[in-house]
């Protein structure tokens, strides 16, 4: 049985590595693109649309296309995962930035902050909860999509699952599937918890000077 447990452990580690690398890259890219979308309105709409279209492409199709372009292996899977992770993160960044009260932007400008200073000092920190939420969605989805990596020669838990399907063995499928689902659920609930904490420890600073309740 220990050959199977090493295989399982390897599978889990590879799976986590691939997903976290992909979401890490996607976060950097996604936030960057989200900021660009915020700064340059027209381009922004195009970018968001492009990301949405990528999301609509069936994952099997996208991975197969990437295989033709980049060959078999882990790198190809990571490229695919990054592409799928872009939309939620971009959208989270963009919406987060958009939700910032114009008064705050004015205030920051008034304080003499440059655009970049404003971005890193005020706007991104304030958008953090929504960016975090986008990353959460990206992570949970990637865990599932990464299972298909086995079809394009990548590692991860897909290998065990696929072998189980080929040999029609339920136990093998479950052996690979249960960790995936557990990790997805853990991330989903864990990160939602953090998300809520993040939005609760913050005052409604999106409209501090405008909040109707405070006016009276």
């Amino acid at each position: 049985m220990s050959a199977i447990s090493t295989e399982l452990l390897q599978g889990i580690l590879q799976h986590l590595l691939l997903v976290s690398a992909a979401v890490g890259i996607a976060t950097l890219l996604g936030v960057l693109l989200g900021v660009v979308a915020y700064w340059v309105r027209g381009l922004g709409n195009v970018l968001l649309l492009a990301a949405e279209i990528i999301q609509t492409i069936p994952s099997l199709a996208l991975l197969a296309l990437l295989m033709i372009l980049f060959g078999l292996g882990n790198t190809t899977l990571v490229v695919g995962l990054v592409l799928y992770a872009l939309l939620p993160i971009m959208r989270g960044t963009h919406t987060g930035l958009q939700n910032i009260s114009p008064h705050l932007r004015e205030a920051a400008r008034g304080m003499g902050m440059s655009r970049l200073q404003r971005l890193f000092g005020v706007e991104l920190p304030l958008s953090f909860p929504l960016i975090f939420s986008g990353v959460k969605i990206a992570l949970v989805n990637s865990l599932s999509v990464a299972v298909m990596g086995v079809l394009i020669g990548a590692g991860g838990l897909g290998g065990i699952i696929y072998r189980g399907i080929q040999s029609l063995q339920m136990q093998r499928i479950l052996l690979g599937a249960v960790p995936v689902v557990l990790m997805a659920l853990l991330l989903e609930y864990g990160m939602s918890f953090v998300e809520k904490w993040l939005t609760n420890t913050r005052r409604p600073q999106t409209h501090p000077l405008n909040s109707p309740e405070e006016t009276i």
Partner: protein
């Protein structure tokens, strides 16, 4: 400021996430990567070769078994993603080299060995000893009802029979299109296409009546299928042999001799029996491989 700390933390976290991947990219060239196609027999052969190399040499073996179909493995070995896998002469001849069928097994082997070396820098080692040819198999029911023995016997009744095969079969020169054209077969409705490992379940369920069985498949026995004779000789012989990147053989001079220990060791009957253990009796591939090598005195 709290915000800066959080930002720093996020960036750090992201770097940590990406780092392992970047590091793993630096693969060592002192390991041997053994691949296989995605059906049990080929996975088993890959495992046998892997265990043999591990037992007889100091070479570090990395397994990439169950990689995919024929062409996936072929691409992988050409690109160097894998160093070695078990291929079949007929497949190499018709599907990969796009040549016409050569009925003589030795001639076929000679041609593929020469061409693979010349075109791809891949060497064919000694055949393992069995011929896993494509065949057509029908359910026992069809056999009992129509008494078919050869492929040609199917012609009059083909429009009553549903044909099913793995996806790969429909995109190979030695596959569906060539078969139906050579024999003049018109099967009922659309052919069923599915994953290579699911054909037998489908035929057992009655979802189809005829399939392209591999001659040494264990499941033929399990489902009591009748294997027909290729009377027009459409399919070439498919003798299995390990194929290795030539530069890999140069990197590991001791490798060829070790792999040749398997030459001629696996007859048709032996391969079918081993497949049966895996597919029908549900044994672990690694265990079946080890048991066989032990029995042959190749490992201890």
């Amino acid at each position: 400021m709290k915000h800066t700390n959080r930002k720093l933390l996020s960036v750090l976290l992201i770097c940590l996430m990406i780092l392992p991947l970047a590091l793993s990219g630096c693969a060592g060239k002192n390991k041997l990567v053994i691949g296989s196609k995605d059906f049990s027999e080929n996975i088993l052969l890959g495992e046998l070769l892997a265990q043999l190399v591990e037992a007889k040499t100091d070479i570090k073996v990395e397994r990439k078994l169950n990689l995919g179909g024929t062409f996936v493995c072929f691409e992988a070995i050409k690109k160097g993603n894998i160093d070695l896998y078990a291929e079949y002469t007929g497949t190499a001849l018709t599907a990969q080299l796009n040549r016409d069928v050569i009925a003589d097994p030795e001639e076929a082997y000679a041609v593929v060995a020469a061409e693979f070396q010349r075109q791809f820098g891949v060497s064919w080692l000694s055949p393992l000893g069995f011929n896993n040819t494509y065949t057509l198999a029908v359910t026992d029911e069809v056999y009992q009802t129509h008494g078919v023995e050869t492929f040609s016997d199917l012609i009059p009744i083909a429009d009553q029979l549903v044909f099913g095969a793995e996806h790969e079969f429909f995109d190979r020169q030695d596959g569906y299109d060539g078969l139906v054209e050579t024999y003049g077969l018109t099967f009922k409705g659309e052919p069923q296409k599915m994953n290579v490992n699911l054909k037998y379940q489908a035929i057992g369920n009655g979802d189809m009546d005829v399939t392209d069985a591999f001659a040494t498949d264990g499941a033929i026995l399990r489902y009591n299928l009748k294997v027909l004779t290729d009377d027009l000789g459409f399919f070439p012989p498919y003798y299995a042999a390990p194929i290795v990147r030539t530069e890999t053989l140069e990197r590991f001079p001791e490798l060829e001799a070790v792999l040749d220990l398997m030459a001629g060791l696996i007859t048709d009957a032996v391969m079918t029996e081993l497949n049966y253990q895996v597919d029908v009796e549900g044994e672990e591939i690694a265990d079946v491989a080890r048991a066989f090598l032990l029995e042959q005195g190749l490992i201890d």
